[in-house]
C-alpha cells in the first residue's frame, strides 16, 4: 500500500554486501519530495549501489526503504512505473538513432506509435538534439549522449529521477547544459536524486547533500551546513619573486592566523581563509609590504578538504585505505 508522505525516498539501515565488502552499510536517507538531492562521495563509496537499489535493480540485503511511499521490496512494480534511472554510462542504444531510441522507450512505456513519435520530436527539440535526431548515437559527442540519456528518462515524466554521475567526463559547456536540465526538472516538480564526485556540482545543484564514504553516510545537510562543518575556503597566492616567499609566508600566517603551506612551486602559497574578508585583507597587506602578487584564488573547500575534515582522510585514498585494512 502507498503511504502518503512528504519524502520521495526514505531508507532505514539500507545495506548491501558484495562478497566480503559491505558496499552500502546501514544508510538512512530522507529525500524531500520535489527537491534535488545529492549523494556526494568518491569512486567506490557506494553511491551507485544506493541508486541501483532504489531503482529496484539490486535487492538490498538488509534495512528497508520506501520510494514515493511504496515499499521497495513489496511494491517494486509500482515504483518502476513512477521512477526513471539514468545510469553512469549512457543507457541508450548506440546502434539506433536518437529519435529511434526515444520512440522505442515511448512504445515500451505504452504510447501508441504517433504519440511516441511526437513525444520523441518534442524532447529532441527541447534538448537541442533536433539536428542529430536521425544520426546513430555512436556518432554523438559525450554531451549529446548524456542529454539524450536524460531525455530518455523523461519520455513519460517520472515522479522521481535518478541521475548517476550525470556530468562525469563532460566538458564544462555540456556540464552546464546538464545542470540547466536538472534545475528545469526540479522546477517542473520532479524529485531528482543524483550522485556526484564533485563538491561544486552538489553545491550548485542540490538542496541537500549526503556525503557517503565506504558505504556509510558521514554527513548530511544543505551545502551551507556542510561547508560550515568543514570550515573555510582556501586562499592560493602566486607571487612574482620566489625570494619573497618567506616574507609572504610570515605575513599571511600573522593575518590569517593559520598554517601557510609553501607549495612545491616556489612562487605558490596556500592557506585556510576563515572568511573572504580576511583573504582580501591579507592580499592588501601583501601589496603594502611590496610583495607583488601575480595571481590569487579563493577556492571553496574541495571534496578532498570536506573529506579530510569529516573523515580524517582524503577522498582519493579511500580505496587504498580499504585495501590496506583488508
Amino acid at each position: 500500500m502507498r503511504q502518503r508522505s512528504e519524502s520521495a525516498v526514505e531508507t532505514r539501515g539500507l545495506t548491501k554486501t558484495f562478497g566480503a565488502t559491505r558496499a552500502v552499510d546501514g544508510v538512512d536517507l530522507t529525500v524531500p519530495a520535489g527537491s534535488i538531492y545529492g549523494l556526494l562521495g568518491p569512486n567506490g563509496a557506494g553511491k551507485t549501489t544506493v541508486i541501483r537499489m532504489l531503482a529496484t535493480l539490486t535487492r538490498p540485503d538488509a534495512g528497508r526503504a520506501e520510494v514515493l511511499g511504496y515499499d521497495l521490496i513489496g511494491d517494486a512494480g509500482a515504483i518502476r512505473s513512477r521512477v526513471s534511472l539514468t545510469g553512469q554510462f549512457a543507457s541508450v542504444d548506440e546502434d539506433l538513432t536518437g529519435s529511434e531510441n526515444l520512440v522505442l522507450l515511448g512504445r515500451l512505456l505504452g504510447h501508441r506509435r504517433p504519440q511516441a513519435k511526437a513525444r520523441a520530436d518534442e524532447l529532441l527539440e527541447a534538448f537541442g538534439l533536433g539536428d542529430a535526431a536521425n544520426r546513430t548515437v555512436k556518432q554523438y559527442s559525450g554531451g549529446m549522449r548524456r542529454r539524450l540519456d536524460i531525455a530518455a528518462s523523461i519520455v513519460v515524466t517520472p515522479e522521481l529521477i535518478f541521475l548517476d554521475e550525470p556530468t562525469t567526463g563532460l566538458d564544462p559547456r555540456s556540464r552546464n547544459q546538464v545542470w540547466q536540465i536538472v534545475r528545469a526538472l526540479a522546477a517542473g516538480g520532479c524529485t531528482v536524486l543524483l550522485t556526484t564526485q564533485y563538491l561544486d556540482e552538489a553545491d550548485q545543484l542540490a538542496d541537500r547533500i549526503a556525503v557517503i564514504d565506504r558505504g556509510t553516510m558521514i554527513a548530511e545537510g544543505t551545502s551551507t551546513e556542510l561547508k560550515a562543518s568543514v570550515g573555510s575556503g582556501v586562499l592560493r597566492v602566486r607571487i612574482t619573486a620566489p625570494r619573497q616567499r618567506a616574507a609572504a609566508t610570515r605575513l599571511l600566517t600573522r593575518i590569517l592566523q593559520t598554517t601557510v603551506h609553501e607549495e612545491s612551486d616556489p612562487t605558490m602559497l596556500s592557506a585556510q581563509a576563515a572568511a573572504p574578508g580576511s583573504a582580501a585583507h591579507a592580499l592588501a597587506e601583501l601589496s603594502r609590504a611590496g610583495i607583488e602578487v601575480t595571481d590569487f584564488a579563493l577556492g571553496q573547500p574541495s571534496l578532498d578538504e570536506v573529506f579530510l575534515a569529516l573523515t580524517g582522510h582524503p577522498a582519493t585514498t579511500t580505496a587504498t585505505i580499504r585495501e590496506a585494512a583488508s
Binding site: F18, R52, A55, T56, L57, T58, R59, G77, R80, S81, V83, S84, L85, G87, Q88, F89, A90, S91, V92, D93, E94, D95, L96, T97, E100, L104, L105, R107, L108, L109, G110, H111, R112, Q115, R119, E122, L123, E125, A126, T136, A152, I154, V156, T157, Q180, I181, R183, A184, L185, A187, G188, G189, C190
Partner: protein, 278 residues
Amino acid sequence: MTTTTPPDSVFDQTMRAVIATTERPPRASALSASLTFSWRALLKIKHVPEQLGDVVGIPIIFTLLFTYLFGGALAGSTGDYLQFLLPGSLVMAVLMVSMYVGVGLNTDVTKGVFDRFRSLSIWRPALIVGGLLGDACRYLIASALVIGLGLAMGYRPAGGVTGVVSGVVLLLVFAFGLGWVWSTLGLLMRTPSAVMKMGMLVLFPLTFASNVFVDPHTLPGWLRAFVHANPITHLVTAERGLMGGTATAAQISWVLIASAALTALFAPLTMQIYRTKQ
C-alpha cells in the same frame, strides 16, 4: 519590441513545457512490448548490417569449399554432393546467426541499456522474446543467402517450394529454442566477445561431428554414436527430409520436441538470471 530574453529562460520554458506533460499512458501489453523489441532488432539489421555478414560468411565459404574441393571425392560429383550438403549448410548458417541473440544481450548489459529496460515497468521477458522474434528476420536473410547460393550452384530440392519453405520454418522454430541457450550465456558471460567465443566453441565441434558434411556410416563406432546423439544431426536429417521431400513425422517431431525442451529449460533459467542480475 526587441527580444532581450536571455537564452537561459527560453531554455527553461521549453524544458518546463516538456516536463509538464503529465500524461501517463496505460502499461504496454506483453505483445506490444515484445513487438517493440522486435522492431529494435530489425533496426539493428538496418544500422549494423555487417553483423550478419560476419556469421553468414562462414557457411557460404564452407558450402563453396566443400562442394568444389571435396564434393567429387565424397559423393562422386560436385552436383550430387551439393544436394547432400546444402540443407546442412543452411542449418549451420542459421545456428551461427542465432548466437547473436546472446552477443546482443551481453552488449546491452555491458553498455548499460539493459539497466534502463530492466528499470521499466514492462512484461519482463519482452526484451528477450522480442529479440528472438526480431532475429527471425536475420535467419530469413541468412537462409535466403544460402539457398540462393545453392540454387545458383545447381542445387535442386526435390521437396520443391513447399519442402524448402517448411524446412526454413522448422529451422526457425529450432533457432527460437536455441536462442534461449544463447540468452542464458549472454547474461552469464562477461563480454560480448566471450559469448561469441563460447558460442563458436560449442557450435563448431557440434557442426563438424554431425552429418552436415559427411554421411556418418563410414565413421568409427564411438564417433558414430556421438554423431547420432548430436541434436544437430537430427535437425539436419529433418531438414534434408523436408527439402528432399522424404521427411517423416518422427524426424519433424524430434526437432519440435527438442525446441520445446530447450525453451522449457532455458527460458525460465534466463528469466531467473535476468531478475537477479546485480
